[in-house]
């Protein structure tokens, strides 16, 4: 894992910690672990999306408004990479 990925994951974890209402430590959860299984509700995932938009100065377009896009740290990172480089 390169430094950029680590830095992005750290920012994602920080947002998850504040908004996802996970039943476990957002800084300890695996990058591919299912966040819904870890306690994130659909409403909490909206908060996560809004916080990501604020932190990365982006807006999630319709085609990324999918349950799976917010299902894990790696899935969020993948969506962000599409938006940040766009």
């Amino acid at each position: 894992m390169n430094t950029d990925t680590e830095a992005i994951d750290l920012r994602i974890r920080s947002i998850l910690k504040d908004h996802a209402r996970l039943a476990q430590d957002a800084h300890a959860i695996g990058p591919d672990a299912d966040l819904y299984q870890a306690g994130m509700t659909s409403h909490a995932s909206v908060n996560v999306m809004l916080a990501l938009e604020g932190a990365f100065d982006i807006e999630f377009p319709d085609h990324l408004l999918k349950r799976s896009v917010f299902s894990s740290i790696s899935a969020i990172r993948s969506a962000l990479s599409e938006l940040v480089t766009a």
């Binding site: 908004h19 509700t41 659909s42 409403h43 909490a44 909206v46 908060n47 809004l50 916080a51 938009e53 604020g54 319709d62 085609h63 990324l64 408004l65 999918k66 349950r67 799976s68």
Partner: protein, 154 residues
């Protein structure tokens, strides 16, 4: 004197009156929302939370009574999530504002679908949608139902 109808023969009689293959599968979705979580989102994200999830008409109705705003938005958010479940649209890329709770003049609520949400529902044969909203104390809930005209994926 006619013979009493046995359970068996009644079942046979009814079976003859029902099409051999059901033409539709009931769509149903439910969602439960903690109202204080909506209040928290309003406090944290304010206008962005409201304008991203709700239509101008939904916001106008909810904000018409400030003490009831959070529970009205909670019920509407629950309706949107229930519709995503009922019509299996969670992976379709649907804007929340394209699933709209419309208040009728008689006070009842109905669900209006727009853009991609309307297209997806049309594709699975949904026309008439049932909506039921409820809130009590800390929670708001919604149930969405529909009986598609055609079985999905045909």
């Amino acid at each position: 004197m006619s013979q009493p109808t046995t359970g068996r023969s009644l079942a046979n009689e009814l079976a003859e009156r029902v099409p051999a293959k059901a033409a539709a599968r009931l769509c149903v979705g439910i969602d439960l929302v903690e109202i204080t979580q909506i209040s928290n989102s309003l406090a944290r994200f304010g206008q962005r939370f409201m304008s991203r999830l709700f239509t101008p008409a939904e916001l106008a109705y909810a904000s018409a009574s400030p003490p009831l705003m959070a529970e009205r938005l909670a019920a509407r958010f629950a309706a949107k999530e229930a519709a995503l479940k009922a019509f299996d649209m969670a992976e379709s890329g649907i804007d929340w504002r394209d699933i709209e709770v419309v208040k009728r003049e008689d006070g009842s609520c109905t669900l209006a679908l727009h853009r991609k949400a309307a297209r997806v529902a049309h594709e699975i044969g949904v026309s008439d949608i049932g909506l039921s909203l409820s809130h009590d104390g800390l929670y708001a809930a919604a149930v969405v139902t529909a009986l598609p005209a055609l079985p999905p994926h045909l």
